[in-house]
């Protein structure tokens, strides 16, 4: 037994060979280590997407790890390429890039010429950068195939670095295969090597591997037949078994090859582009110069001493870690955006530095936010700097194209996002593969509706009437459990750019994304972080678009210099009063229902209060039960105490309650004895535990550490709950600070320029939390006149007109008309600039509109100036024919029928259909008579009701929300002519009336009124769909009157 042969697996696929491999990279590594393998090569098909994870796992296990990939060329030639050196790794990445870039997303195409072009042959002294395993497989047994020709081609080129890979998989023809391979190898003068064609780490994965194959071929397992493997031999087999199958020299050869592969991913060094540094400068001196220039802009009379010390401290740190090119790159992108007038703002830990403030990446200076600047990049924690830059969402593409243009597609690409199977997609695919009865399949899907969590075992199957003991169902659930979190495909990260000095494809393969003109690398952001590679996040933010547009509207109307984020006045009590009233529809971040219910309790009075407000209504603080303690302490009901002085230092600015992610991290250090490095690991584990798990050991350590230092169990458990909450969306103070600034700017604009602010929001749709209907109702409630869409007056965008009192009135733009194309809108405005329209025909002729365009305008009431009413306008345009060149007036018609004047209801619903809102009465006002007869109250009447009374309300459903933290409660917002009603639907009722909850447009609710410090809810006891009432208004105009 002692004489087990050495073995290294040189051909193994992980589940990054999508729908082929059935094991995670880490599982392969772990099992190879257990079996005492000498090394493991991960050779996914034309991909290295899994190597970073495998590398990390192998490093931990102490198993030598080899990077490689498997290919099937167009001509049918199959081979495995292993990277022996850093140069070889570069060649491998080049080859993958070439194959992937030549084919649509998810596929690749390579020819022999590509292989020859990318992979260098071995040098004269026999050393090689890449080692090749030729896998002719059964080809050798087929006399008619050109097996030998393939081998000859390869051997001629790669002689010293080529092996014939033999996989003996108990197909019944192993002996013949081995004999043929040995003969061919001898003829070519190369050696044979054992390789396992591994698709799973252990034989027990065979069912999943079969199921994946069936899913890949889009057939049921029953139909799959020989598209499945005949047996489960493609796993990592014990060495004793291999010794029985292979001649010893084939096994020995694996170890010899593994020994030649010396490349490790740790060798990768990544350099930011140097072209941003002009001649005669070093990156450090150039960054310093830019910072100094920026400082004189920020502080015309010179930076205050505190800022000066911070600048020096930060620049030293940046220099020590050699991060200058990163800051220069971010600065370059921001500078470009500024030059184009694209509003942008940085956030993230490194963004809230004085350096970034001076570089113009952020607008929040140290005079405004003292606390933050203590924390920057942590040298001990060795955490890479994090700067996300938000751009106007409508113009982010310009920035992206600038980056592609400036650095070229070979040097810039987006990070990938690995899309993995979720519970529902896993069930959906497996139900098909296993051919489960459709009724049972529907029940399954129903049971997982709204399900979140880690294990499918937590779903309450029996409640859904599913018998998990039934064999087919048990098999399905067992497989689904395994399939969850298996990668499905690579998608593009929302905006994480990787930019390099040299060709990116030598660092990591680049492939096509689904979107045209987008390329992504094969690693996701965790992989990049694992390898300490930096990325710049270029994100889109709707509010920035709206703010920029609002600045423009205000400047045009009042004929003044446009405002900037920096010039919006800093503190304004009137604006805080508005915020404290929760009068924040449209304001960034603090407009959601949860936020609005918090505002009257928190009553923000200064900028830092907004920072807390933005951060506190998040899963972390809510799950950690930190919200109420903070509110109580703020209101002075509870004393502000600290368990220790160390904790005071961390939690001082939030009244002793941890709210931000970094506070929790810091607590782990001071209260549980984590080292800075461990705290950083905790942070990363937090971000990934939903997907990967692995946070448990930190939890134990945290509890033990805090117990040791005499903190109460209860406090420790709350911190733990908060950490779990952060995993959904970790919210650091630095992010909150940047968001709070935009919240402040938008609140200031809403208060001082409501018409312009609403116009800007409408012009930036879709964005934010509210529909145009609600934005308009809100702005009219604030006394702003809103003028209808009218082809004689409207621009494409919403604009400001001088209103009756000289103040601005909001004129709706043609963009509000849903089905009107942007091009048609622009032609209308251009034609009107030449001369006003005298009739719809004049409009149609000069703006070159199709009848369809005119119809949507008529339906929206935008032609009201030409006909007495909407019906007549519609009749006119429905008969419109574009002018004929020969007889321009032939299209005229004389007769006009007598058409009914539209009823109010018809007008209202025509508005809703064409615009999504109406300037007339609310539809519920039209139904009020009927509703009152059914004893249904209006929202406005609820104020007079006592808390606890039973009420009936009905309204249009404007929002349905089921927050992750609410354990199945659905928040429904109903709207009627007098206001809004907030309804809570508990899970039990929601499940019972799911159809109503999901589909009703007009909902009736019976329930109990609850009022708690200015916040009113109706707790639903029953809900009903009253949508047909709208239909009655809508179609049967006659019946109604």
């Amino acid at each position: 037994m002692a004489a087990l042969p050495e073995y290294a697996e040189l051909h193994a696929l992980s589940n990054f060979s999508f729908l082929r491999g059935a094991s995670h990279a880490a599982e392969l590594v772990g099992h190879a280590h257990e079996l005492g393998y000498r090394a493991l090569a991960l050779t996914d098909e034309c991909s290295v997407a899994g190597v970073v994870r495998a590398h990390a796992a192998a490093k931990e296990a102490g198993l030598p790890f080899i990077v490689g990939a498997e290919f099937t060329l167009e001509c049918g030639l199959q081979l495995v390429v292993l990277a022996a050196t850093r140069r070889g790794y570069g060649q491998l990445c080049q080859l993958i890039t070439r194959g992937r870039r030549a084919a649509p997303k998810g596929a690749y195409r390579l020819t022999r010429a590509d292989l020859a072009g990318c992979i260098a042959p071995p040098a004269a002294d026999g050393t090689a950068d890449c080692l090749l395993l030729w896998r002719p497989g059964e080809l050798l047994l087929d006399a008619a195939a050109d097996g030998l020709a393939q081998g000859e081609w390869l051997a001629a080129r790669h002689g010293g670095a080529l092996w014939l890979g033999v996989a003996l998989l108990r197909s019944g023809r192993d002996a013949a295969l081995l004999a043929a391979a040995l003969a061919v190898a001898a003829r070519l003068g190369i050696r044979c090597v054992a390789c396992g064609d591994v698709h799973m780490h252990e034989a027990a994965r065979r069912p999943l591997q079969d199921a994946l194959a069936a899913i890949r071929h889009r057939v049921t397992l029953r139909e799959a037949g020989r598209r499945l493997f005949a047996n489960g031999e493609r796993h990592l087999r014990p060495r004793a078994e291999l010794a029985r199958l292979y001649p010893p020299e084939l096994l020995a050869e694996t170890a010899a090859i593994a020994a030649r592969c010396r490349f490790s991913l740790d060798e990768l060094r990544y350099e930011y582009p140097r072209e941003l540094v002009p001649e005669g400068h070093t990156p450090a001196s150039w960054l310093r110069q830019l910072v100094e220039e920026g400082a004189t802009v920020r502080w015309p009379e010179g930076p205050p001493p505190r800022a000066r010390t911070l600048i020096e401290k930060e620049l030293d740190l940046i220099a020590a870690l050699r991060y200058e090119p990163f800051f220069l790159t971010v600065h370059d992108v921001v500078r470009f955006a500024r030059g184009r007038g694209i509003l942008c703002q940085g956030r993230g830990s490194a963004a809230n530095s004085v350096v970034c403030y001076c570089l113009g990446v952020t607008a929040t200076g140290p005079d405004r936010l003292e606390m933050l600047f203590e924390r920057f990049i942590s040298k001990e924690r060795d955490e890479p700097p994090d700067i996300d830059v938000d751009f106007e969402h409508e113009r982010r593409e310009e920035v992206i194209q600038y980056i592609y243009g400036k650095y070229g597609r070979d040097r810039a690409a987006l990070a990938a996002t690995v899309i993995t199977y979720g519970a529902r997609s896993a069930l959906r695919d497996l139900v098909r593969a296993l051919d489960i009865d459709p009724a049972a399949a529907r029940a399954l899907v129903h049971a997982t509706r709204g399900w979140r969590g880690h294990s499918l075992r937590t779903v309450r199957w029996d409640e859904a009437g599913i018998d998990t003991g039934e064999p087919a169902m048990a098999r399905l659930l067992e497989l689904a459990e395994l399939l969850v979190n298996v990668p499905r495909h690579l998608s593009q990260h929302v905006g994480g750019f990787v930019i390099s000095e040299g060709p990116l494809a030598e660092l990591v393969p680049v492939e096509n994304a689904a979107m045209a003109d987008r390329t992504v690398i094969q690693w996701d952001k965790d992989d990049l972080e694992d390898l300490r590679l930096l990325k710049v996040d270029v994100l889109g933010l709707g509010m920035l678009t709206a703010i920029r547009k609002c600045f423009g509207l205000v400047a045009d109307f009042h004929r003044e210099e446009p405002l900037t984020i920096a010039t919006v006045p800093a503190e304004d009590p009137a604006v805080y009063r508005m915020i404290s009233r929760a009068d924040t529809i449209g304001v960034f971040q603090i407009e959601s229902r949860a936020q609005m219910s918090m505002l009257p309790r928190l009553k923000p009075e200064k900028y830092y209060d907004l920072v807390i407000e933005v951060a506190i209504v998040r899963p972390g603080p809510i799950q950690g039960d930190m919200v109420h303690p903070y509110l109580r302490r703020r209101a002075g009901i509870e004393d502000v105490t600290y368990p220790s002085d160390a904790v005071r230092g961390v939690l001082g600015r939030t009244l002793g309650v941890p709210i931000f992610q970094e506070q929790v991290m810091k607590l782990a250090e001071v209260a549980a004895g984590f080292t800075p490095g461990e705290a950083d690991q905790l942070r990363r584990a937090m971000a990934a535990w939903k997907r990967r798990g692995g946070i448990e050991r930190f939890e134990q350590k945290l509890l033990a550490g805090m117990r040791e230092r005499n903190y109460t169990e209860e406090f420790a458990q709350r911190i733990l709950a908060q950490i779990r909450g952060f995993s959904d969306y970790g919210f650091p103070e630095a992010h909150a600070a940047s968001f709070a600034l935009l919240a402040w700017v938008s609140a200031w604009l809403k208060h001082h320029h409501p018409a312009a602010f609403t116009a800007a929001l409408l012009n930036s749709q879709p964005m934010g939390f509210y529909q145009p209907a609600q934005l308009l109702r809100d702005v009219r409630a604030h006394g702003v006149a809103v003028l209808p869409v009218d082809v004689r007056a409207s621009d494409v965008d919403c604009t400001l007109e001088a209103g009756e009192g000289g103040g601005p009135a909001l004129r709706l733009g043609l963009r509000c008309v849903h089905s009107l194309t942007a091009a048609a809108g622009e032609r209308i405005v251009a034609a009107r600039r030449a001369a006003p329209f005298d009739s719809f025909r004049d409009l149609g002729n000069r703006a070159r509109l199709a009848r369809r365009d005119l119809e949507v305008l008529a339906a929206a009431g935008a032609l009201a100036g030409f006909d007495e009413h909407r019906h007549l306008a519609f009749w006119s345009v429905a008969g419109y024919l574009p002018p004929l060149p020969a007889a321009p007036d032939a299209a005229q018609e004389a007769a006009r029928p007598l058409l009914r004047v539209p009823t109010e209801a018809e007008d209202v619903f025509a508005d809703y259909r064409a615009l999504g809102f109406t300037l007339g009465r609310h539809p519920l006002a039209l139904l009020r008579g009927r509703l009152a007869a059914a004893r249904i109250l209006a929202a406005g009447q609820l104020d007079a009701m006592a808390s606890g009374s039973q009420v009936r309300v009905a309204g249009l459903v404007t929002a349905r929300q089921r927050p992750a933290t609410s354990s199945g409660v659905t928040f429904v917002t109903l709207e009627d002519e007098s206001g809004q009603v907030n309804v809570l639907v508990w899970r039990r009722l929601g499940e019972k009336r799911n159809d109503v909850l999901v589909n009703a447009r007009l909902m009736e609710v019976r329930g109990e009124l609850q009022r708690e410090s200015d916040v009113t809810h109706v707790i639903a006891r029953d809900i009903a769909d009253r949508t047909p009432l709208i239909g009655a208004l809508h179609f049967g105009g006659h019946d109604f009157h």
Binding site: R173, L221, R222, G225, R227, E233, A858, A878, G879, L899
Partner: protein
């Protein structure tokens, strides 16, 4: 009678024609205010399945029932849509003793929730039935008044056309029909205008009478009862010739032919002839019937023969090969194979003959399966396996693998395998097959090729499951 009317139809009956007509001379045209045609629309309600005695599953089947029932009242039955049929009743009034009687009978034949409506034009009847207005309009003059309040949706025009009219505030037929013709034509198009004209009777609206699918069915009554098979076949000859002509005319064949033999005192005997491919030749039918009759036990003299052909099918006529089989390597069996099979089936019984198809499967016992004639579409589309089986397979397998005797050595390891007392020598293997976990028929086996001393080669396997038993599964020829 009035109560009946109001039960069936909403409005009070129009002037009932029965008595009036009796007074008029028999050759006179119908009363001027009576329409020349009277159309009854029978509309399946929203819940077609609710009509208990209609086959509820499929619309067309339900429709077929409606048509059949309708044909009891009038030959002029037309299918309007997948959920409505039309009956022209003007011609049947007299036969049923007046419209009253006719309508009463119709209501009984088409019970609720079927919607009925009577109108002078087919479209109007359908529209009224769709709208659920069970009414009875016999005079064109009254038609417009009844149509006007109907919502336009019942026209079943495309959504966008209705939306366009809705934009003008036009939601009822009355509002639509009031609009100026020229303007309307420009807005809804001439086809729609034509449809409206047919609706109001402004234009004729001829309907195609429903015709059932053709079937061949014939009875042969011998002049005297006989049990002589030769005689029976001779009697069938002319009928088969007519069948051939019938099929030739339609360029169709049949794959099933039913012959029913009636006796005076015994139950009729039925024999069904199935063909492998669609067939039309009388001679073939005769030959097959002869083969079939030979083995058929007759209960006595035959009094009558009933010949019925199944559904008509398209057939592919093929040219006869230029060379006779065997001549110059001319295609031997291929052309004659179906005929040969048919003869076999006719002689041995249709269930006695089956084909074998290769199946895309790893499990040896499922690698082939039986296929029955005539080949169904699924069977005809048998896909050859994507990859060949691993190693050699015996042609025939045992239905159930038989266990081998295992002799173990002292350490419990298998030392010898015996098949019927003969020792087996392993020649090659293993071929490992692990498959089928998804349907409860999981197979985990290592197959070997083995030989007994007498030179016979066997396919044996060892179970991978807990038992680890050895079995023989097949024998190589």
């Amino acid at each position: 009678m009035n109560s009946l009317q109001s039960l069936l139809f909403d409005p009070p009956a129009p002037a009932v024609p029965a008595r009036a007509r009796r007074a008029a001379p028999p050759t006179a045209l119908p009363e001027p205010r009576e329409a020349r045609e009277l159309w009854l629309a029978v509309q399946l309600g929203g819940a077609a399945g609710a009509v208990d005695d209609l086959p509820g599953e499929a619309f067309p089947a339900a429709l077929a029932v409606l048509v059949k029932r309708g044909q009891a009242f009038t030959p002029r039955v037309a299918v309007e849509s997948s959920d409505a049929v039309l009956l022209e009743l003007a011609g049947s009034r007299r036969l049923f003793g007046g419209l009253e009687q006719l309508l009463r009978a119709l209501r009984a034949a088409f019970p609720r929730p079927l919607q009925l409506a009577l109108a002078p034009t087919p479209l109007a009847a359908v529209l009224l039935a769709r709208a659920g207005r069970n009414c009875c309009i016999t005079s064109p003059a009254r038609l417009m008044g009844r149509l006007a309040p109907l919502p336009l949706v019942h026209l079943r025009w495309p959504e966008e056309e209705l939306a366009r009219l809705g934009g003008m505030g036009i939601v009822t037929l009355g509002e639509l029909l009031r609009l100026p013709r020229a303007g309307l034509a420009r807005r809804i198009g001439p086809e729609r205008l034509d449809e409206l004209d047919r609706l109001t009777g402004g234009r004729p609206d001829p309907r195609v009478r429903f015709a059932p699918a053709p079937r061949f069915h014939e009875c042969i009554d011998p002049d005297h009862e006989t049990i002589d098979r030769e005689r029976l076949l001779a009697l069938l000859g002319p009928a088969l010739a007519r069948l051939e002509e019938f099929l030739r005319e339609r360029q169709r064949g049949v794959v099933a032919l039913r012959l029913r033999l009636h006796h005076r005192r015994a139950m009729p005997v039925c024999c069904i002839l199935r063909c492998v491919v669609p067939e039309y030749r009388a001679a073939r039918f005769a030959a097959l019937l002869a083969a079939r009759l030979e083995s058929l036990a007759l209960a006595g003299p035959v009094r009558r023969m009933e010949l019925a052909a199944g559904r008509l099918r398209r057939f592919l006529a093929a040219s006869a090969p230029l060379w006779a089989p065997g001549e110059h390597g001319g295609g031997a069996m291929a052309a004659q194979a179906p005929e040969f099979l048919q003869t076999l089936m006719a002689r041995l019984g249709e269930r006695a003959v089956h084909g074998v198809a290769q199946v895309d499967e790893h499990r040896p016992e499922r690698e082939s399966r039986e296929v029955w004639f005539p080949l169904s579409v699924a069977a005809a589309r048998v896909v050859p396996p994507a990859s060949p089986a691993g190693a050699a397979r015996p042609l025939g397998l045992l239905a159930v693998p038989r266990p081998l005797a295992v002799i173990r050595d002292g350490a419990g390891r298998v030392s010898r395998l015996l098949l019927q007392g003969q020792e087996l020598t392993l020649l090659s293997g293993p071929e490992r097959i692990e498959s089928g976990w998804w349907d409860g028929g999981e197979v985990v086996r290592d197959y070997y090729l083995a030989r007994t001393a007498d030179g016979a080669r066997w396919w044996i396997f060892r179970e991978g499951a807990a038992t680890r038993g050895w079995f023989v599964h097949g024998c190589f020829a």
